[in-house]
Subunit: 323 residues, 2 copies
């Protein structure tokens, strides 16, 4: 009984600072990919460009959330800014596959309804994340792929582009370097956003061009609900970036939620354990962004760096790329 | 202290019968799909055919396991018997999509290594489950799709067939009925197997033709690791069948493992809760087969019936289709 009383007292004491701290009424966290992001590999000029674009993405989501919009709209608005930029491996900046083509993946999940949508291997949809949202909202399915997903997007009136729209010099140089085995991996990262709105709803969105020089219609974790993307109002919203195969095998995005609900871990305990213990011990490189229903943020990564940023009703915006 | 002593005593008492009961040294569980499987919808003649084919699949896996083969080989052997049969919605018997074509999905996961493989939307690979195993063993990826997956299978020397190989009268009749809106859903089911070998290794495999009249390159849960298939030597092996979108959104296969590891539930508690409480409350129909590392079996379904069977070193073979 003594032990129980002490435990109770401790947990009450530990709860007070949290309860007293101002909880944000809305929050937004974004990532632009994890990887070999170090000051030595990114010029100061590029750093400025990345910071500006991450801030622009945060501002786009902030506009939605501060105006009372939904977490889903905010996450998509933030991701779309990054999709339109050549700086990231999503949308416009998508990397090239082994055939010298761009094949994009994206997914979204709504924490309020538990609904989700994803597209995999699409080549002419300007905003794959918007296509993923339409799959969620306007189809009976969760995951559509290839030509079929594009036919669906066409029916939905989404903007289609020529495959050449996704050509960027930087992605092409990356492709050539990987092709000539001058580099083992590409440099540009998957993008994602997680948001909490004023109604207390969580949402997550992820968009990517996949791995440079990927072959065989390879599908990574980004369009796989439970691996690269997950959201539940009961627990958290998660968007991942990294070596997708490890994220699929470990159901990483869902596991953050499972550890919170089943083990009683905080969002940061769960996310940090998965990235820095579980994945790291397997050799799985990458990171994730996670946001719980109280606006608590976690952004662990086991790579040298990860493009990331957050803004809430109480603090920010803030962007970082290195440790 | 009194409470602690009592708890200890109780747990010791509860452990004794389990330890005394003979644990199987190997085990195999299979399913041939869940759905509107009732005596009224299946003729006695068809029942005999299904029973014989399920027993044949069990025997194929049993041969492997009793001979000291691996859980993965056994699961694949069992699934391949069903893929070769027109009775199930996988391989030969795959249903038709909206375009009147057959698009097949499959996945496997090895509980010893945590490795996994999957193919989605393939049209000319005779044994999709074998292709999934090759993705796991011989590629750097987990999930390959469409033409790319087929090119990979060709390089691997797998048997390719004309798309017409997958034509069966029954699947075509189903297609026409769904097309003419005479039926809401097809009747034939996804197949799967989970196995435990003498070394204590678990494996899971799933293979399907997807939903009759599926559109837009729809990908269901069967090729999604963590949704339709999961295996870990730490916990269990799982193969799912049912309305795939619900299985993806709920990361069903991984969740069985998460509930066992994080909540301390038995395989049957975890599987039954997910199928009969969580999914059912959302309107998600289907079932799963699960096997833990001690050979305990669970086969819950919230549909009228599910084709299923098991055999272990201690009991069986036994096949069932109705409640």
């Amino acid at each position: 009984m003594k032990h129980l009383a002490l435990t109770l007292l401790l947990s009450i004491l530990m709860t007070i600072p949290q309860a007293m701290a101002q909880q944000p009424v809305w929050a937004l966290v974004i990532h632009g990919g994890a990887g070999n992001v170090t000051p030595g590999r990114i010029t100061p000029d590029k750093q400025v460009q990345y910071e500006a674009k991450l801030l622009e993405a945060l501002a786009a989501g902030q506009n939605v959330l501060a105006g009372g919009g939904t977490a889903m709209d905010a996450a998509i608005a933030a991701v779309q800014i990054m999709e339109e930029s050549p700086l990231f491996n999503s949308g416009k900046g998508a990397v090239f596959n082994a055939d010298g083509k761009n094949e994009l993946d994206a997914s979204v999940m709504d924490g309020r309804t538990g609904k989700a949508g994803a597209v995999a291997g699409v080549t002419v949809i300007r905003s794959p994340v918007e296509a993923a949202r339409r799959v969620m909202d306007s189809s009976a399915h969760v995951m559509l792929s290839g030509r079929g997903a594009e036919a669906f997007a066409r029916e939905q009136g989404l903007e289609l582009v020529e495959p050449s729209y996704f050509y960027t010099d930087e992605s092409w140089q990356e492709y050539m370097k990987v092709k000539e085995r001058l580099e083992k991996e590409g440099r540009k990262g998957t993008v994602g956003a997680v948001a909490l709105d004023k109604e207390g709803n969580l949402a997550a969105a992820t968009s990517t061009g996949g791995m440079t020089f990927k072959k065989y219609g390879r599908i990574g974790d980004s369009p796989v609900i439970g691996a690269g993307t997950y959201a539940s109002n009961e627990s958290c919203a998660v968007s991942c970036t990294g070596h997708g195969e490890y994220f699929i095998r470990n159901s990483v995005a869902y596991d953050v939620s499972a550890r919170m609900l089943y083990l009683g871990e905080t969002v940061d305990q769960a996310a940090t354990y998965i990235i820095n213990e579980k994945l790291k011990s397997q050799g799985g490189t990458g990171g994730l962004i996670a946001l719980d229903k109280n606006g608590n943020i976690s952004t662990p990564f086991n790579t040298p760096g990860m493009f990331r940023g957050f803004v809430t009703s109480a603090s920010g915006p803030e962007v970082k790329m290195f440790r």
